[in-house]
Symmetry: C2
Subunit: 200 residues, 2 copies
């Protein structure tokens, strides 16, 4: 048994459970909080405690939200003619960070994955169909992940929703900005060649 | 302004303040906690809240502790003939993790650093001297950091406490285990040569 005071051991253990934080990082965080002002530790504890209590799902887009409808669905400033379909709430945050998209979202809460027994009925697909019938859009941007499950989900949705007559788009594949051509995998480089664009 | 629900934004911001956690890692941790069982988030929040409330300094060794004297100072199983002097409570944890040391500790709470205006009087040096007079030891292991301040502190303590007549030792310098000789810095490699040991 390693002799460390229980309150410190508890924090180290709790931090160690988080993804990407090993025992050494957890210890560093615990000792940092011990030296930090009381308010900082309290703010972190309160924020974590209130995270689930104060977070609900928006009944329109199924993103995590404080109110229903969420701030994005309720906003007058968003473009209601384009709807971006993502797998998870964290994807909404990632897209919002780009500041390149001003439309609305629909969160599926997963992707189709037959091996994991996840079909369209486990996702918010029925809700998406119902929503599009009540609030039609001009463009449906399928922003599921660029992996097997995400592509399968995008294909399924494109086929299911194509008959509704709107434009259906997918995020572009290509080289990451700041990346090195030499180190790009062949599939990405291939997609980047196929999707090449005119410079002028 | 990026549209993310306030409870989530609060957690992301609070995590981002911690050392080594950037905004993306903070977001990942927030979404992880949202998906994790309620108990896991509550356990983390409680542990952080209780960290400072339930932690005090041991009046003998000045390590962080739950009670006074701390578990190490109070333990019958520790070797009272050797005292290890460290800069910070986190150093005690690092040494305890090795399971190679069974003596007692003394935490200085810093190192001598004239440029930062830190002299022996800002550290628990007077307390160390008083402690050694009441509870003499056979060996004093100076385990301050192997940097400028740590070396200066060790030199100062060796000169100050030498007259008390005990053995005064310092942690060995050398190559890190699993390290690569080719990549070792010259000073470390030099110390490792000077400190070479008989193999049989």
């Amino acid at each position: 048994m390693i002799a460390v005071a229980a309150p410190i051991a508890n924090v180290i253990e709790a931090f160690s459970r988080l993804p990407g934080i090993g025992p050494k990082s957890a210890a560093r965080l615990a000792f940092y909080l011990l030296r930090a002002p009381e308010e900082e530790a309290t703010a972190l504890a309160d924020a974590i405690r209130e995270l689930k209590e104060r977070t609900i799902f928006c009944s329109r887009c199924f993103n995590l939200a404080e109110g229903d409808p969420c701030a994005i669905c309720a906003s007058e400033e968003r473009d209601r003619s384009i709807l971006c379909v993502v797998e998870e709430p964290s994807d909404v945050l990632a897209i919002e960070r780009t500041r390149e998209f001003r439309g609305l979202y629909h969160v599926l809460h997963g992707a189709i994955s037959p091996v994991d027994g996840i079909g369209p009925e486990q996702l918010k697909v029925g809700e998406l169909l119902a929503r599009l019938q009540v609030e039609p859009v001009q463009e449906l941007l399928l922003a599921t992940n660029p992996n097997l499950e995400g592509e399968a989900t995008a294909m399924y949705l494109a086929r299911l929703l194509g008959p509704l007559g709107m434009r259906i788009t997918r995020l572009a594949h290509g080289l990451p900005v700041g990346g090195d051509l030499e180190y790009a995998d062949e599939v990405t480089l291939g997609r980047s060649l196929a999707g090449r664009r005119e410079m002028v």
